[in-house]
């Protein structure tokens, strides 16, 4: 691109130069659009196929006539079945309870800690900040076996409340990290002004920091939500009866019975279960992206 610009510039007056610059830019632009389009199609094939399958009846799936990529006789039967299916309702409700509680607990813990670590400080607070970051790097699959024993001692095996206890360990470190970043970007004079205005530390947190750092709070909340909604290993390891299961494991254990795969229903269930994260993403995409990138741009 730039070589053509250089030759054009050397060869002739400014009009030609401008023209070729414009043209090579147009090429780059259209090339980018086409390449992006190809990637978008590849990325969206699975969700598209999920949607197609969910609209098919079991008969149409097993008939295997025509293209599997297109639905020939669309039906909402799968969705209707799931919505009226008590087990599925149970999973959905359990997922909501676990997620809402996890988000609430995680946000309280991380906002309090982030305020303390970014502004107040105490002996060892530096070490704790580093520790929080390192904890974020601990994956859930590293400790699920000892946690299985600990959950057992607490008498919470096959009880979804164990998830409310364990999920915050996955969400809190990153949420704290995001919030430390957002709180640190608030100018120090703001808390000093509030201090002189007569506010206590908790008032500064509640009346100044939380409102000012609202974008960060939303981003952290979204993160905690996605973690709690999508976790698969813990519920698979610790829950085994359908009245305790959450969506991720419920769909698999309930709709796959031995060798019988009810693919239409499974795909419909996947869609329904993906709906909350997708809706949140659709409406709060900027916060979602901010939360994703906050961790690295700070570090």
């Amino acid at each position: 691109m730039s070589t053509s610009v250089a030759t054009a510039g050397r060869r002739a007056p400014t009009t030609a130069h401008k023209h070729s610059l414009h043209r090579s830019r147009m090429w780059a632009l259209w090339g980018s659009y086409i390449a992006l389009g190809v990637f978008v199609i590849m990325f969206l094939i699975p969700p598209f196929y999920t949607l197609m399958t969910s609209l098919k009846s079991s008969a149409e799936i097993s008939a295997q006539t025509g293209s599997p990529w297109i639905v020939h006789h669309p039906t909402l039967a799968n969705f209707w079945y799931l919505i009226t299916y008590p087990n599925f309702q149970r999973y959905y409700l359990n997922s909501i309870i676990v997620t809402v509680l996890t988000v609430a607990v995680s946000m309280v813990i991380s906002v309090l800690a982030a305020f303390s670590l970014s502004r107040m400080g105490f002996w060892g607070s530096q070490t704790l900040s580093t520790g929080v970051f390192l904890t974020y790097l601990v994956p859930s699959s590293l400790l699920f076996i000892p946690l299985f024993q600990i959950v057992g001692w607490l008498g919470l095996i096959n009880n979804f409340w164990c998830l409310v206890l364990l999920y915050p360990t996955l969400a809190v470190p990153f949420c704290t990290w995001i919030m430390i970043g957002y709180f640190s970007s608030i100018p120090k004079e703001l808390d000093e002004a509030a201090l002189i205005d007569g506010a206590g530390y908790l008032q500064i947190l509640w009346k100044i920091f939380i409102p000012v750092a609202m974008p960060g709070i939303i981003a952290a909340t979204i993160f905690a939500f996605t973690v709690a909604w999508g976790q698969f290993l813990y519920p698979l390891a610790y829950l085994y009866t359908s009245n305790q299961m959450v969506l991720t494991v419920g769909i698999i254990s309930d709709l796959i019975r031995g060798d019988v795969f009810q693919w239409g229903k499974i795909m419909a269930a996947c869609l329904l279960a993906s709906l909350p994260p997708i809706l949140i993403y659709a409406f709060l995409m900027d916060y979602y992206v901010a939360g994703l990138t906050a961790g690295a741009t700070k570090g």
């Binding site: 004079e189 002189i196 506010a199």
Partner: protein, 367 residues
Amino acid sequence: MAEVSCRKVIKEYDGGVQAVKGIDLDIADHEFVVLVGPSGCGKSTTLRMIAGLEEITSGEIWIAGDVVNDVPPRDRDIAMVFQNYALYPHMSVFDNMAFGLKLRKFPRDEIKRRVDEAARILDLVPLLERKPRALSGGQRQRVAMGRAIVRNPKVFLFDEPLSNLDAKLRVQMRTEIKKVHQTVRTTTIYVTHDQIEAMTLADRVVVMNGGHIEQVGTPQELYHHPATRFVAGFIGSPAMNFLPCRVQDAANGNLAVKVTDSIVLPVPPARADRYAKYKDKSMILGLRPEHLFEYHEQGKPGWTRVDLPVDVVEPMGMETMVHFFVDGVPVCARVDPATHAEPNEMLPLTADLNQMHLMHPETGQVV
């Protein structure tokens, strides 16, 4: 309203660095005092100790007759205006000003009365519902002042409040601050690194350097009778010229200061007694650029002709700055624009030695 005192106040940071090295200062009720000095001189630290934002390592700070060392900022009954305004970005102008009163549980109509009055004084009435981000720099500055005024505190503290404004607005806001002080008459402590701001605003100026106070005095005192070489060089713009010199007997029996072999300046008789005891000693001669001007045929007593080789000429409009080198030491003169000065030519000048200062080279004390 109240007087403020510092008694041997020291601020030492972890690691033994002393930012403030024992300050004694008394500020009277209704007084407008400006702390001025280069960055790192301890002026902001002093202000923040008075505010209660920094702990005091040792010494005492009194506000309105009480030691406030252990009193948290909110109970000191002070208000502070910050360099970056520190407005709460999520609150309207009204709420910003009302915040301190709300926290102190003032009744609602009293809050409204006070905010409205402050808004009236500061011309903020049409802006009360706006958020800070919708305000210009000068308006934000006024809101920050309004937040201080509504509290009706014992003391106002200003920490470089005008540094973030552009030059024109700074002059305008300076006048505004002065006007507000004349209206509310609250004891005010104002920190700045800008000596012009200090001179124009202050009842008394406190010049600080390296963690201690160099001199306290009215603007006029500081200008005409600087106590140290630092103050002499810091106050006034362009800065005072400093030339190494030697005090010696003049031919006519009077005293003279010898700068170079060719530049020997007679000391005015009025000062002879003061300088007599420094005879034959190396000293520093201080003379402001405004006291080194174009040569006049009819001189006055104490005026002496000096001829210097021009280095650079800087026309400023109402005056012209001419720079010279005397034995490698830069010297500046402030001459009439009509004067014809060309680089590398000799320019005849008048030195007004009635305004001269003589300083001890080691201690920097003006003698």
